[in-house]
Amino acid sequence: MPTTSEYLLLFRGTQWYKGLSPAEIQKVMSRWRAWYSALQTQGKMKGGLPLLSEGKVISGARGRFVTDGPFSESKEAIGGYFLIGVDSLEEAIDIARQCPGLEHGAVVEIRPVAQECAASEFARQNEGRYANA
């Protein structure tokens, strides 16, 4: 059992910074940068990237439907993510609370990354045996 678990922090909302002044944007940006770097230094950052709000949504059998982003609910749209490795959900929550966008209306969603489930682990371990049978 690994002692750390992975969590995905999803930053929701791409409108919250629209009304900020240049000075505020710079302040939030530099705090966000400092936050990211600190997690890197502590070895907790497994990867993170910003997402543009344009894009496509594919659905339907064989991808019949291709619709345009940005997504109708811009409050829900994901603007970026961090993948972090920490000891507990509590620690992940503490980290998420430091998001500099929160005070301006950004929303952080924490999703634990699922461990490989028992059934598929069993299948993988026995893969060779069944193949040879």
Binding site: G19, A23, I25, Q26, K27, M29, W32, Y36, G80
Partner: protein, 440 residues
């Protein structure tokens, strides 16, 4: 001729942010002012809002990406490049701007070079923007709001905080200003010929107002107020550094701003309480700002005209030049006030003159100078009148009369730091009165 670089000013007058190595504290604001001005020239003054949207979006892109990828080597060029792409997108989308594409691309190309050849163009555009914001067709309070918005990158809530008014009121002022620009067909250009002098006077007056708004110690967030002073200085430097604005009067205004702003941080103690001039720790005065002020003062001496800015700068220079309160050249200050009251009949100037009179000829003379104030009625509700009278009475050892004035002054001001000083003075008087009673 360029006198001072605006980036130098902000470096000297402010401490660098430690949060962000490699990025100057006011970078986004500076870039905002520059790019908004240039895009406004390209898109047309009636599309000011479009220029603002483009720059806002460019800065938002920096917010979205720099935290992950780090700060670009040349942050300003990065923002410029993104703004160029967004402006080009806009030009492609709107039929009426199709012909602007070349102009946009051309301008930004020139601004990326090393040295950027577009430097002069940017300066011209910013000066054009200053002339638009300070156009006499726009009501003056709206001029200040517009300048803070378009040139300094303040948003509505920041302007409202600075002026202790509601966001709705500021939004209304901005809307009205933009309507005036359209209705009066204000053009985006630097005035020339005989018009220039009158328009330049308007610009200086608005910048002076902006500075005063920040300088006066009345309520509100101290840091925001100091920022107003720094922005006013930055804009005045810009005007003084441009051939169209490089006049003795402009330098006099710059001198008065530097020489007063240099003493800003020494004006209050660690708890934010007001310190009187004689109580201030003069080693906390900003020496580099004083030096710049003196430099501008020297520049302002060209020509024969003596403006109110010259006289006020001269008075501030007398204070800055004195190593301690005792060695202040009060006779010189009084003679400057004597000339100032001839140009400016405001009762507040006359009240300040009375203080100088008291320093030169004693408190009784100061008292009669106040009593002979022509427009004393206008001052009836002005707390400083009573504070000054209280000081004079206290110096004359009339503790009871002084206490009465200080109490009256206390009633007239709602500002905590002013009240604190007045209460302190009142207590001192009451102590004197008590000991006088014991003695007799």
């Amino acid at each position: 001729m360029r006198t001072l670089d605006s980036s130098e000013t902000s470096e000297i007058s402010k401490t660098q942010s430690s949060e962000m190595p490699g990025v100057v504290e006011d970078l986004f604001r500076r870039e905002w002012g520059k790019i908004v001005a240039t895009l406004t020239r390209i898109f047309g003054i009636e599309r000011l809002a479009l220029a603002e949207d483009v720059v806002q979006e460019a800065l938002a892109r920096a917010l979205q990406t720099w935290p992950y990828y780090g700060i670009p080597e040349n942050p300003s060029a990065w923002i410029m490049r993104v703004a160029r792409n967004l402006a080009l997108d806009q030009a492609r989308r709107e039929v009426r701007f199709r012909n602007k594409q070349e102009e946009i691309a051309g301008f930004f190309e020139r601004s990326f070079g090393d040295p950027p050849v577009a430097q002069d163009e940017i300066e011209d555009d910013r000066l054009r923007m200053i002339f638009v914001c300070c156009h006499p067709e726009i009501p003056q309070e709206a001029q200040v709001a517009l300048a803070l918005r378009t040139l300094c990158g303040f948003n509505v809530s920041e302007i409202a905080n600075a002026f202790l008014t509601s966001e709705a009121a500021i939004a209304k002022r901005l809307t009205r200003a933009k309507q005036r620009i359209r209705a009066a067909r204000i053009t985006f250009e630097i005035p020339a010929g005989p018009e220039l002098t009158a328009r330049l006077n308007g610009v200086l007056q608005t910048l002076y107002l902006l500075f005063n708004e920040g300088y006066k110690a009345s309520g509100g967030d101290r840091l925001i107020r100091e920022e107003l002073c720094h922005e006013a200085i930055r804009l005045t430097d810009l005007v003084a550094g441009h051939s169209a604005g490089n006049r003795p009067q402009t330098h006099a205004l710059a001198a008065l701003m530097y020489l007063n702003a240099a003493r800003l941080s020494a004006r209050t103690d660690s708890e934010g309480h007001i310190l009187r001039l004689k109580e201030q720790n003069r080693s906390r005065w900003d020496k580099s700002m004083i030096a710049k002020g003196m430099f501008h003062l020297a520049q302002s001496a060209a020509g024969t005209e003596v403006s109110v800015y010259h006289l006020q700068a001269g008075i501030a220079a007398c204070h800055c030049a004195a190593p301690d309160a005792k060695s202040t050249n009060w006779p010189q200050i009084l003679s400057l006030y004597d000339r100032l009251v001839e140009l400016d009949d405001s009762p507040i100037v006359a009240l300040n003159r009375a203080v100088a009179v008291a320093h030169v000829h004693g408190p009784a003379a100061g008292m009669s100078a106040v009593k002979s104030l022509r427009d004393r009625r206008e001052l009836q509700s002005y707390y400083l009148l009573y504070a000054v009278l209280g000081e004079f009475e206290a110096q004359l050892h009339h503790a009871e009369a002084a206490a009465t004035y200080f109490r009256r002054a206390l009633k007239q001001t709602g500002i905590a730091s002013e009240q604190h000083l007045l209460r302190k003075r009142l207590r001192e008087c009451e102590k004197q009165m008590a000991s006088a009673v014991t003695a007799s």
